[in-house]
């Protein structure tokens, strides 16, 4: 019955609801696969076998007793390690939080528990979500299920790899500059960054407070919709959370349609700087959209030229302030130098030992951007670029219902290939960053593999703020067209024997 792990979340939900499979059975299947494969892929930092099975058992008991259960009850899920969980350590991929068990659950985690979803464990990530390859984790990189010596993307490489390697049917990620969408593109999975404020950030270890958003990681668009419907909603603990819900994403995903949809191709996000194989799959996808009745237009967003600069000023600035709380006093690592150190010395030594180089670099950068004398030229200017980016999007959305671009400029590169050059690493996010600056939602879904390396390519759709449903509607439609065209789903492009390839049904 280990073939269960290859089924989509929506299929598994049906089996669970029909009683054809028990939650314990299902949870155990994933736990077994995790035990077997995680050592090599390092997607999970912590596995909560006991807790997951206990929840699963409770679901089975209550279902047998004929109780009405939440929609996704009994369906296991993985959670990125920057969301607080009271029953598992929460490290945000950092030594400074190694072993820290939080005193409270993140709101999203509470929602998952209310759904009675067994939480399989916490997934690996770039330290404090700073990075796009998961190589910045203090606990080792995560491999790409398609090729373990390649990056799975970041910062949420663990969640994407877990889902891509069938270690979990669904996962929770967070996206600040592309940390859900970029790994989705690298691993041939689906990832969504909802509108800023659609999902509560309470309990999400903050990186860039005005940019962070929690979202679903899945293998199909419908699966992502099911999850977003569970985790989205107003939270009184998060003052930036939207007052009203955005409607049913599930309904939108079930009603995928491209007829008459105006699709805006972003001039600045294609062509030069994009890998040939990526551009090729993207162009084909555009043709498919046209064939399905969509209207393709070109939109011009000149301020995107400054998006990376603005992002890498705003983000480090907010992060430098958000990470000040890691000071050895109330939680986390404490390093005490010899002699009679003062608290200032203890703080400085702790942060030196506890933070990795990328984190230190960004904190220093952020401190610079905010310091008196620099504020106007840097942070202040960056916040104005943000306004220009919002204006460009507003203009573009007058001409188009959704915008489109390749999610990433390249396919998955090798682990170690780019980490000496932070600037080069920053360019990975060129297509994903604008959405975070503007607060609008975006989705990445797989559109095939690149000819030159056989690795996944992703397409990104963007919608106006609050119009997340459009992403699921358009995404589901395209996904359906592609699966029909291929005669199989994306995972079947993976080489046999890799973790991304579903084992043969004959097992």
């Amino acid at each position: 019955m280990s073939n269960l792990v290859f089924k989509s979340a929506s299929d598994l939900v049906e089996l669970l609801q029909k009683g054809e499979v028990s939650s314990v059975q299902l949870t155990q299947a994933f736990l077994d696969r995790i035990e077997k494969l995680n050592p090599a892929i390092n997607a999970f930092l912590h596995v909560s076998a006991e807790g997951a099975l206990a929840t699963a058992a409770e679901v089975d008991r209550r279902r047998a007793a004929g109780e009405n259960l939440p929609e996704l009850a009994g369906l296991p899920i993985a959670v990125k390690d920057n969301l607080t969980t009271v029953d598992a350590p929460t490290t945000a991929g950092s030594k400074i939080l190694e072993g820290w068990v939080p005193q409270y659950d993140a709101t999203v985690v509470s929602l998952l528990r209310a759904q009675l979803m067994p939480i399989l464990g916490k997934t690996n990530m770039d330290e404090f979500a700073m990075g796009s390859s998961t190589e910045n984790s203090a606990f080792g990189p995560t491999g790409n299920p398609w090729a373990l010596d390649r990056i799975p993307g970041g910062s949420g490489g663990g969640s994407a790899a877990a889902v891509g390697a069938f270690l979990a049917p669904l996962a929770i990620g967070s996206d600040t500059g592309g940390s859900i969408r970029y790994p989705a593109s690298m691993t041939g999975t689906v990832g969504v960054k909802p509108t800023y404020g659609a999902v509560s950030r309470y309990g999400l270890i903050a990186l860039g407070s005005s940019l962070d958003q929690i979202g679903p990681v899945s293998r199909t668009v419908l699966d992502g919709a099911l999850l977003q419907d569970v985790i989205a909603g107003h939270d009184k603990h998060d003052s930036t959370s939207l007052p009203a819900t955005l409607g049913s994403m599930t309904e939108a995903a079930k009603n995928g349609d491209l007829k008459g949809v105006r699709v805006g191709v972003i001039k600045q996000l294609q062509g030069e700087g994009f890998q040939a194989g990526v551009q090729a799959r993207f162009d084909e996808a555009i043709d498919l959209l046209t064939a399905a009745g969509a209207q393709i237009v070109e939109v011009d967003c000149p301020s995107f030229e400054h998006a990376i600069a603005a992002y890498y000023l705003i983000l480090p600035a907010e992060a430098s302030s958000n990470l000040a709380k890691f000071d050895s006093v109330r939680f986390g690592l404490r390093v005490t130098p010899d002699g009679n150190p003062t608290i200032e010395r203890v703080m400085a030594a702790t942060r030196e030992a506890g933070f990795g180089p990328e984190v230190k670099r960004r904190i220093i950068m952020g401190t610079f951007a905010l310091s008196s004398g620099s504020y106007d030229a840097y942070y202040g200017s960056a916040q104005k670029i943000r306004t220009l980016i919002q204006r460009d999007f507003a203009k573009a959305f007058e001409l188009a219902d959704v915008l489109v671009s390749p999610t990433a400029p390249t396919t998955a590169f090798k682990i170690g290939e780019k980490n000496e050059d932070p600037l080069a690493m920053y360019l990975n996010d060129i297509a994903t960053i604008p959405a975070n600056l503007a607060g609008i939602p975006g989705i990445s879904l797989p559109i095939g593999t690149a000819d030159e390396d056989g690795l996944p390519v992703g397409i990104q759709f963007l919608a106006p703020a609050m119009q997340d449903a459009r992403l699921y509607q358009v995404g589901a439609a395209l996904e359906s067209i592609l699966v029909n065209k291929w005669g199989k789903d994306m995972a079947h492009f993976a080489q046999a024997g890799t973790m991304a390839a579903p084992a043969s049904e004959a097992n």
Binding site: T240, A309, E344, I364, A377
Partner: protein, 98 residues
Amino acid sequence: MSEITPDLVRHLAGLARIDVTDAEVSRFTEQLSLIVDSMASIKAAVQGDVPATSHPIPMSNVFREDVVEPSLSQQEALSGAPDSADGRFRVHAILDEE
């Protein structure tokens, strides 16, 4: 000609309470110079009357009623503390005057 100098990097690291080695200072100076230079264009790009956006989705007046909610217990509060005594967090001597 970059504004980022080793002295500045040391000063910033001090403000941020992070010890840095000499090797780190040189590495950061070089990397941050590159990064900051690449950003030189943005100040020019926002000439004119462009307002800043600090919140991507405009909202205002989000408040909480002045009603007491359950607190953590003292034990829970201290549960992550590297060191505590008498129900309080314990830290090494503070250099500055209060």
